[in-house]
């Protein structure tokens, strides 16, 4: 595990100097190490709703019907979650703006805490209509996010439509009663229990923070490289810190 990190650190630090493209790697930020299917199962991600309230669009993500409850296929969830975390890391690495949206009262505090941890943005109160499509009127500085993460999809359907209208890719946790059609990277999973929401929040914040640390290392490395000839190493570090 440690050796893998060192290897990746080594490759990524020379990535900018030599010109290795992070996008050429399948898993540049080592996202696969963050979770396992067992950890998804332990957090109750596989638990869906009663069969009566299902959305037939979710059929391909459902493993089966157990005594009147839908069970979500964790293999599918794994594929989609890996892809979503990878994309999130890449966007964080390029210093993109990531927005967490969760207008469900139970999880407001959790999502706010997560977004603050990884120095990103959040909407946990009401979604004001037109905040993306009419940004130049509603916001003082119209800087749209580069990725939106929806943690409670049924509460934010209008926001999802708006992100599609504003051409912003979106990630959404879709339960068995949600509509995944307009979401760019849907992740099938339980969105009603605290344990699973905590898992998603932890995964996204870790992925973002790892990518930011990676970026910081790369920037430091290039600055060190360029200053090597004139100034001693220690002085350049001190300048960086101040």
């Amino acid at each position: 595990m440690i050796s893998v990190h060192i290897l990746i650190y080594f490759f990524s630090s020379i990535s900018i100097v030599i010109g290795i493209n992070p996008l050429a790697h399948k898993d540049f930020f080592d996202v696969r190490q963050l979770y396992s299917i067992k950890s998804l199962f332990d957090a109750g991600v596989h638990l869906g709703h009663k069969t009566g309230v299902w959305n037939p669009l979710m059929k391909q993500y459902i493993y089966g019907d157990r005594h009147g409850n839908h069970i979500i296929d964790l293999n599918e969830t794994d594929r989609h979650l890996f892809l979503a975390l990878n994309v999130t890391s890449h966007i964080a690495y390029r210093k993109g703006v990531i927005l967490f949206v969760c207008c469900r009262p139970q999880f407001q505090h959790l999502v706010q805490k997560t977004a603050r941890e990884c120095q990103e943005f959040f909407v946990i109160q009401r979604w004001r209509g037109g905040i993306l499509t009419n940004a130049h009127k509603l916001l003082p500085v119209p800087r749209l996010p580069d990725l939106i993460i929806f943690l409670s999809v049924p509460y934010n359907m209008d926001a999802i439509r708006e992100s599609a209208q504003a051409n912003i890719p979106s990630i959404g946790i879709v339960d068995t009663d949600c509509n995944p059609n307009l979401i760019t990277y849907p992740i099938a999973g339980n969105d009603d229990s605290l344990s699973s929401l905590e898992l998603y929040c932890r995964l996204f914040s870790t992925a973002i923070l790892n990518a930011k640390v990676q970026r910081q290392n790369d920037d430091n490395y290039t600055i060190d490289k360029s200053n090597d000839g004139e100034t001693p190493r220690d002085n350049s570090r001190a300048e960086m810190a101040s």
């Binding site: 996008l23 199962f41 332990d42 069969t51 299902w54 959305n55 037939p56 669009l57 059929k59 391909q60 459902i62 493993y63 089966g64 019907d65 157990r66 839908h70 069970i71 594929r79 989609h80 892809l83 990878n86 994309v87 890449h90 966007i91 390029r94 210093k95 993109g96 993306l132 499509t133 009419n134 749209l144 580069d146 990725l147 439509r161 599609a164 209208q165 504003a166 051409n167 912003i168 890719p169 059609n181 307009l182 979401i183 760019t184 990277y185």
Partner: protein, 157 residues
């Protein structure tokens, strides 16, 4: 930047079109990333659902488990926070049943045999049944006055 044509194509194809036509000059930050890691299914606002319903998850041991709890009514504490629990008495019963059902074609015989096997291991079945029978309250018989209750004799006590 907002597009009314969000129902046509995906986020990627729409921005690609804008870039080609020269409506926007600069690539968005996410463009290369979504190009390299496209969604598993391309986004479509009107994607039709896969026909049919989800299959039923039914296993052969479900019937045995149901019969076991109906006959013996074991109540055991199980810690749901732990994922690697010890096998319960019912689980052990099913393990025996699986062995016996390979030898016996009749399910009831295999059921009785696996019960015997558990008893040899030291599990007692009879006590719970006896206790229930002792605790069972006999149903009261209706008194005669209630039997011939009618409007005619409402004042007779």
């Amino acid at each position: 930047m907002a597009s009314r044509n969000f129902k046509v194509g995906t986020v990627y194809t729409r921005v690609l079109g804008l870039l080609k036509s020269g409506a926007i000059k600069q690539k968005p930050l996410w463009f290369d990333i979504v190009e390299t890691f496209p969604p598993i299914l391309p986004t479509m606002h009107n994607r039709a659902p896969v026909p049919g319903r989800a299959r039923k998850l039914q296993y052969w041991e479900d019937e045995v488990r149901e019969k076991f709890y109906k006959e013996f009514k074991f109540i055991e504490p199980v810690n749901l926070y732990e994922t690697d629990n010890k096998p319960t008495i019912c689980d052990r019963f099913i393990m025996h049943y699986e062995q016996f059902s390979q030898e016996e074609t009749d399910g009831d015989v295999a059921f009785a045999k696996s019960k015997e096997a558990l008893e040899q291991e030291g599990v007692t079945f009879s006590r719970i049944k006896e206790k229930e029978e002792k605790e069972a309250v006999p149903v009261k018989e209706n008194t005669a006055s209630e039997d011939n209750a009618s409007i005619e004799n409402i004042f007779q006590l």
